[in-house]
């Protein structure tokens, strides 16, 4: 067995479609900001769209879709777990307000 760079290559047309799709997501993000949605809803929507863009970039631009699945399972779940663990400290962010000295 030899080591190869990638098994299959998408065509330029696929790349252009992906590029257009990502531009469309950016446009949706910009429109959402002026759609008068609540700040919580806006944050959630922007994060979902950003993760969607990132997933598309990883799969197509960074060719993760065309690599062996083991590469994905080795790299991505661990990274997501790290993000989930960082997510556990939000309660401390809320405590910042109560920990402040009063402004004279």
């Amino acid at each position: 067995m030899t080591t190869t760079e990638t098994a299959t290559e998408p065509t330029l047309r696929v790349y252009v479609y992906v590029w257009l799709g990502m531009l469309a997501i950016v446009a949706i993000e910009a429109v959402l900001v002026y759609a008068h949605v609540s700040s919580g809803m806006l944050l959630a929507s922007l994060l979902v769209l950003a993760f969607l863009e990132a997933a598309v970039a990883l799969r197509y631009f960074m060719h993760l879709r065309y690599e062996v699945p083991l590469l994905f399972w080795t790299l991505i779940p661990g990274l997501l777990l790290a993000f989930v663990m960082m997510n556990q400290f939000w309660a401390d962010a809320a405590r910042l307000n109560t920990l402040r000295f009063p402004i004279p």
């Binding site: 067995m1 030899t2 080591t3 190869t4 760079e5 990638t6 098994a7 290559e9 330029l12 790349y15 252009v16 590029w19 990502m22 531009l23 950016v26 993000e29 910009a30 959402l32 900001v33 002026y34 700040s39 806006l42 944050l43 922007l46 994060l47 769209l49 950003a50 863009e53 990132a54 970039a57 990883l58 631009f61 960074m62 060719h63 690599e67 062996v68 083991l70 590469l71 080795t74 790299l75 661990g78 990274l79 790290a82 993000f83 960082m86 997510n87 400290f89 939000w90 401390d92 962010a93 809320a94 405590r95 910042l96 307000n97």
Partner: protein, 209 residues
């Protein structure tokens, strides 16, 4: 010498167990770097979130024109540079040296354009009184500190990427580097693009007045 031969067929490589990922060591190393760098950006973006949530006097400095328009143009420029990089990698794989140089040149030009637009925006903000420790709107000084720190770290990645692509392009033309080197550098460039997909909505779009 092909990348396959460089990795598995030469010296002791032939006697070694093949990579379970079926990619070159160079590419795997870049992936490991990307994961580590993604964790770094993730940590500072989470940090930005905590500090923003914990700042009762947070101010929103951006308006549609010029900030968001400028940010959208920067996003289109960076996304397009990823497309030109993909074309450069494809041309390098097919051994078309002239086309590779053309596409990598376009990527470098777009990267420089992104950096210039970013620095122009920074200069405008400095003139308005923003800095790492000053907020001309009278709110939390952490607005400027976090904005310049996070976008500065990303800009550093863009500038590093432009330098790396330039070096790889010159080396590829001189036949010192292979298509595998171009692809690995492209992987880094796409990651820089991917990070911006989080920086732009979280730092710009969530801070529109």
């Amino acid at each position: 010498m092909s990348d396959s031969a460089m990795t598995a067929g030469s010296m002791h490589g032939a006697a070694m167990e093949p990579s379970p990922f079926l990619i070159t060591s160079r590419k795997l190393t870049m992936w490991l770097f990307i994961v580590a760098d993604a964790a770094t950006f993730g940590a500072i973006l989470f940090g930005y979130g905590y500090l923003r949530f914990g700042s009762p006097n947070w101010t929103k400095p951006f308006t549609f024109s010029p900030n968001i328009i400028n940010g959208l143009v920067m996003t289109v420029v960076l996304l397009t540079s990823s497309l030109t990089m993909l074309c450069g990698v494809a041309a390098a794989r097919e051994g078309r040296s002239g086309a590779t140089m053309k596409w990598l040149g376009a990527t470098i030009l777009l990267g420089v354009t992104f950096a210039v637009l970013h620095l122009r925006e920074w200069t405008g903000m400095f003139h308005e009184g923003w800095s790492l420790s000053k907020n001309p709107m009278g709110g939390s000084v952490q607005v400027g500190a976090l904005f310049f720190s996070i976008t500065g770290l990303h800009l550093l990645h863009v500038i590093s990427g432009v330098i790396a692509i330039t070096v790889i392009a010159i080396g590829f033309r001189a036949r010192k580097f292979t298509a595998g080197h171009v692809e690995t550098t492209g992987l880094y460039w796409h990651f820089v693009d991917l990070v911006w997909m989080f920086v732009f909505p979280l730092l710009y779009l969530l801070n529109v007045r």
